[in-house]
Point group: C2
Chain length 440, copies 2
């Protein structure tokens, strides 16, 4: 059927359905750096941009053994539709995982989701009306902000320091937003091994943050993908361990096992959990029975805590390689020094702009994520997130050395053409433009 004769909802040449989209679709835009990241995925590029766990540290036979058991003992169940809330046995096992961070809960309050990302999506669909405000750390997780924006909410950032989110700044921000008549729906926070900042909310601040939320009637959405991946000392217990009525907690197997199964979860107060289940059923009918049963068998058979120790050792070595390389090659920059997780947040000399510099970095065969990706307000130009989770220690050293060449080259250029003190750049779009998911 040709386009002739179609009386369109008025479109344009590129998209005849342009005017049919919902208002919220305007919030979903491709990242300006997306094409660049496609280039950056070439093998000769050292990518410090991604958030991919190092799954090769997971012994093959542990997964094969779980697959075999699932097919032998639960084949038809694994291949069939299941409950919208998730497999009961797995929900019980998730309690054991959360207990490691001080959480005491009931399996009936756990809902299994397609990665914790989908829990974020379902929660946002349930809570966000257009114009609502989500408070989050600044910087914050890119793809969470993409979701909030896709439901036409605004994100209000609150700064962190080395001890995480600053309580006084949170108080002020809330007061300020309330004075403007804004409707604050929830505080989205990554208290432990923050993505991208690499810092952890100090123990004494945890109760204080919860108290501020409680006083102001604000729900807390605690996103905790990295909490078990500490390098030496265990971090403070999860926020949820201190407040079961005011916190919705998100967890995942993507970092402690493997993201390819897409299994995460939410732990929520009773009434919210009920609505999350209905939203999950509407969205996907049920999470993958196969994926859930494989993970359940893995948790039953394998030394999963020992495997997490293995991952901790891998990431600790890589983090140390990154920090020592930064000291050696980039003494003019500053950075956070994470005690767990995947990420370092780097601050460039103040004349430099990480986004403007990225094409040159990719040409020099190193990639990172510009800091602006993690803010909705144009912040982060002087910052970048560099990840140590996927490249080997040797690759990390090579990558940081290349990055230093780029930084020094930019500084030379700037000093040669000095005067403006700032390289030309493009204005911020105010959108949260997610890089492709394997990079976020």
């Amino acid at each position: 059927m040709s386009e002739q004769g179609r009386t369109p909802a008025p479109g344009n040449n590129l998209d005849p359905w342009y005017s049919s989209y919902a208002a919220r679709a305007a919030g979903l835009a491709a990242s300006e750096v997306r094409a660049l990241f496609a280039v950056a995925s070439r093998p000769e590029v050292v990518s410090l941009a991604g958030g991919m766990p190092y799954v090769s540290a997971l012994p093959d036979d542990l997964i094969r053994s779980a697959l075999d058991r699932v097919m032998t003992e639960q084949g038809p169940t694994a291949l069939q539709y299941g409950s919208g809330q998730g497999v009961p046995a797995l929900r019980e096992q998730i309690l054991d995982v959360m207990a490691l961070e001080g959480i005491n809960a009931s399996a009936s309050d756990v809902i299994v989701t397609t990665g914790s990302q989908h829990a974020l999506e379902l929660f946002s669909k349930l809570f966000l009306d257009p114009g609502d405000v989500v408070i989050s750390e600044g910087p914050s997780y890119v793809t969470a902000m993409v979701i909030f924006k896709s439901y036409q909410a605004e994100v209000a950032h609150v700064p962190m320091d080395d001890d995480g989110l600053q309580p006084e700044a949170l108080r002020e921000r809330i007061a300020n937003l309330k004075a403007q008549g804004k409707r604050i729906k929830f505080l989205y926070t990554i208290p432990t091994f923050h993505n991208p900042a690499g810092v952890t909310l100090a123990a004494q601040r945890r109760a204080e943050i919860l108290e501020i939320a409680k006083e102001n009637g604000i729900l807390v959405l605690e996103d905790n993908p990295y909490g078990l991946l500490y390098f030496d000392k265990q971090p403070p217990n999860a926020l949820r361990s201190l407040d079961e009525d005011g916190v919705v907690y998100l967890g995942t197997f993507s970092k402690t096992l493997a993201p390819g199964f897409r299994v995460g979860w939410a732990l929520a107060p009773h009434a919210i959990r009920e609505k999350l289940i209905l939203a999950n059923e509407a969205a996907i009918l049920c999470p993958s029975s196969f994926s859930q049963l494989v993970i359940s068998e893995y948790l039953t058979q394998a030394d999963w805590k020992g495997q997490i120790d293995t991952f901790r050792g891998v990431y600790k070595e890589r983090k140390e390689a990154m920090i020592s390389s930064l000291k050696e090659y980039l003494p003019g920059c500053t950075w956070t020094n994470p005690t767990g997780g995947f990420y370092v947040w780097l601050t460039l000399p103040e004349e430099l702009d990480s986004k403007a510099m990225l094409p040159r970095a990719v040409k020099e065969l190193v990639a990172y994520t510009p800091g602006t990706a993690f803010y909705g307000d144009g912040g982060g130009r002087q910052n970048m997130r560099i990840s140590f989770c996927y490249p080997t220690p040797e690759q990390i050293r090579v990558g940081i050395r290349r990055l230093a060449n780029v930084v020094n080259g930019e500084l030379d250029l700037l000093h040669t053409f000095s005067g403006s003190g700032r390289l030309p750049d493009s204005p911020s779009s105010g959108r949260y433009n997610a890089p492709p998911p394997d990079l976020s």
Copy 2:
């Protein structure tokens, strides 16, 4: 932390966050018959209510062999994050599946989703503003209507006959909605082996329906989970084979392979596909690499067309058992006689109400889905959907015999207390209340 001292977004005793939900959350309500279906899942009940495929007809070794190949050849890839659009090799293979229904497309226009259910969700999120209208057949697929409602859209039903959606009725409905100033966003249709009606859109009507949509600038969302499961004669080609600019097509491996992997797909015009990918990335980052690679290996190694023939034989035998049992035990009812798919749509004698009758049916150890579940306007009281996909032919005969006892018992009761001609019933809520997913 206790509830004391919490200054709530004003809630209620059952849910302190009651007033925090988005307006759209009101559309997500638990089904009134949900508790009853929990009872109906007891093994002694013959359930004609569900839409579960008979996965036991899939030989175990075909899946084991695919699992083994994935682990041997692509282990780290299967365990890792992947592309938000889906695995390229699988998208190529999906073209071969769609070619069986006359569709000619490019793999770059295919996006892999978490079951075709998630494609429905993402598409709805992209297109539906509050107050928009979706046109669909009446009755229609429950969980699609739950999604439309969750984005605050209205569903306008158009009747079917034995040849499917009625073109003249569609024309009138569109004209009528336009006269009311309504914004019609798309036509949601299941043209082949309709769920729940069991009818198929006749070949000559397909071009006509597309022409009506085109004239009115209405996008068509073609949902086709059952098209390859015909009993004898192949049905007419998919709508998408006739119009590549005006149709978004949804397919799934849930019925031709197994739903436990949660892998379906959308085929969409370029610009829409781009937005669907961004919406998919925001919602789940990427579909399960593991599930996709297992299915891709299955399609590479196994005689998947032969396996579909096996499923067709299984379902044909069950459909015949159902129709012959209906003729034998329920001569006072009428029903559709599907030429493929999973469902028969039964019409009771006009005094009876299928929803009011359900508790009695469950007591008699047979379950079905009341017709009202498939309408948003209180329609379908005299109807029910009975599924032949999961129970064996013998169980189907037992189930229909039990159903006949219930129907005859209700008729006896009615004639004993005649006068009103109608049993008491509860008013329709106007909501699309989905039964649990394994039943929908």
